[in-house]
């Protein structure tokens, strides 16, 4: 046993990660060497104080955060993920515009047989544009944030918090939301808030930031979303243009119903894993299920196209099925195959659906 790194020893002692043999060796040394014993005890006192002080600080910060939220319950969900797509969308739009002009340029230059040395310059410019937009978005968020909290003391920037919608995959706790809602895995904790106002802690099982899908599971043992199995099934094939659709989401703590139709078989920038929808959608609705009139899940809401909200985009169930094929070992999902919603009145469908949809709340220090 090495007695040189006394800090490391003290840390292992406090965290109780020391082997019995090492503990015995340490105790023997302390009995033999009083000076060492004092030194070691001081280190333990220091680490315990640091631990205690740290956890108390975090507790105090959490209390302040809770106080802020309860003081302004209506405004608490101002920081939401969907706006994050504005910069992405506009960045992609900008790059498309640049690319178009670049293409025009190449066509022109090809006809005039000139070499074109601008490719890398343009791509760097795109990067630069993206960065600029990211920066602007960050300031915008900060402004929105400070506006929403004008009556409360300013909070640290790292207090970011997201909220979206999720829906059950299996009755025993597996559910889906958009990957960006859970910040692609970079969060401290996730809870779902169901229609009865109950919170349940969840953990991330699998996610794919490219298709923007995340699969999570409620931690609680023997958890059930509803009395019966999940009443809807996942649509196997791509739905056709003009299919009537509806969704249930939780922009606030209450369920919100909206309906529309598939306006394009492909999604953003021709993405054939997505649908373009005519469907009113906004903050906090990412991750909502998109269902057809028979109650089959066609996709998951992921983004809106611009501040004008002209288009809404949903990831098709194909990507979800792909992700389900790649689950980490130990996760057995028994998906519902039957679709019980098909035989019900629309109002019944919606009421039934509320048991299996919920708000997803993501906390990050």
């Amino acid at each position: 046993m090495n007695f040189n790194n006394i800090s490391e020893l003290a840390e292992a002692w406090v965290n109780n990660t020391m082997s019995q043999a090492d503990k015995a060796a340490l105790q023997a040394r302390m009995e033999a060497d009083a000076e060492f014993a004092i030194e070691f005890n001081e280190h333990i006192a220091l680490i315990q104080a640091l631990n205690g002080n740290g956890s108390q600080k975090r507790f105090r910060n959490m209390l302040k955060d809770i106080a802020r939220e309860q003081a302004a319950p209506v405004q608490k969900k101002k920081i939401i993920q969907l706006p994050a797509h504005f910069w992405r969308t506009s960045a992609v739009a900008a790059s498309v515009a640049l690319l178009t002009s670049f293409l025009t340029y190449t066509i022109i230059s090809n006809t005039s047989h000139k070499p074109n040395p601008d490719y890398s310059t343009i791509s760097r410019e795109v990067d630069h544009l993206k960065r600029e937009q990211q920066k602007q978005q960050a300031t915008q968020n900060a402004i929105m944030d400070s506006l929403s909290r004008k009556n409360a003391p300013a909070s640290p920037v790292s207090d970011a918090r997201y909220s979206g919608t999720g829906f059950a995959l299996t009755n025993d706790g597996y559910f889906v939301t958009a990957s960006h809602v859970v910040n692609n895995g970079d969060f401290d904790s996730v809870y779902i808030l169901n229609k009865d106002g109950q919170y349940y802690k969840a953990f991330l099982v699998n996610f794919d930031s490219k298709s923007d899908i995340a699969i999570l599971k409620v931690e609680k043992k023997n958890f059930r979303f509803g009395k019966l199995d999940v009443p809807y099934a996942l649509q196997g094939e791509k739905a056709s243009l003009g299919t009537r659709i509806f969704t249930l989401s939780y922009p606030n703590d209450d369920a919100v119903y909206s309906e529309g139709y598939i306006s394009c078989k492909n999604g953003y920038d021709g993405d054939d894993k997505q649908y373009t929808l005519q469907l009113p959608a906004g903050h906090g609705q990412s991750g909502s299920p998109v269902l057809d009139e028979d109650g089959q899940v066609l996709g998951i809401l992921t983004a809106i196209s611009s501040p004008g909200q002209a288009n809404t985009y949903a990831v098709g169930t194909e990507s979800l099925n792909d992700l389900l094929q790649k689950m980490p070992p130990g996760n057995k999902l028994h998906l519902a195959h039957g679709n019980k919603l098909g035989r019900q009145w629309h109002e019944q469908q919606i009421s039934e659906l509320q048991n299996y949809t919920f708000s997803v709340k993501v906390y990050k220090k």
Binding site: S7, L46, I47, L50, G52, R58, L63, Q70, Y363
Partner: protein, 192 residues
């Protein structure tokens, strides 16, 4: 029913001690209005109420760190009593202590317990303050590194990436060096 009640209280305490957000939110929602109401009646305002109540929650949090700690009263009673004591202390400091606080007195015999809890709390606060002062005396990167690990609960992996160490092992070695220096500073100030 008595059993299930105490079980719930023990569960709440354990969760509070861990800093569980959901439970803390529930306790906050249930108790803050009571303390706010009492404080308004006794010459405080909403801001005082938030300060006092949060301090009382921290006292309870401190008590809950000891896994053997059991409340002799309910969480609500405890928070209200501690809040009253804290408020009384604050008024004394401001030298406008009333002769007797309104609707006070039902906890009478427990006063000593609460006083003791507050005393421990204040001693701990002073201890932590000294520790923070020592931390601030440390130079960089030690100060930021230790704060990231102990205050912000970051993992050594994250820290190693954030501070630009080539691997977590190097960051760890640096952390132990920092701890040695902090220990010297901290116990030097204590000896004074």
């Amino acid at each position: 029913m008595v059993h299930s009640l105490t079980d719930t209280e023990t569960h709440i305490l354990a969760a509070l001690g861990r800093g569980d957000r959901v439970v803390t939110e529930q306790v906050y929602r249930q108790n803050y209005p009571i303390i706010n109401g009492w404080l308004i009646k006794n010459g405080g305002n909403a801001e005082d109420a938030a300060d006092i109540f949060q301090e009382a929650m921290v006292v309870l949090f401190g008590k809950a760190q000891n896994p053997d700690f059991r409340l002799t009263s309910s969480v609500s009673t405890y928070l209200l009593a501690v809040s009253k004591h804290l408020w009384y202390k604050k008024l004394q400091q401001l030298q406008r202590a009333p002769q007797r606080l309104a609707d006070d007195g039902e906890e009478g015999s427990h006063d000593a317990t609460y006083e003791e809890d507050l005393k421990v709390h204040l001693e701990r606060e002073a201890h932590y303050e000294q520790l923070n002062a020592s931390l601030d005396m440390l130079g960089e990167p030690c100060r930021s590194l230790l704060k990231a690990f102990y205050h912000h609960d970051k993992s050594m992996q994250e820290i190693s990436a954030d501070f630009g160490y080539t691997n977590p092992e190097n960051a760890k070695t640096q952390k132990y060096k920092c701890l040695m220096r902090l220990k010297k500073l901290f116990f030097a100030t204590q000896a004074k």
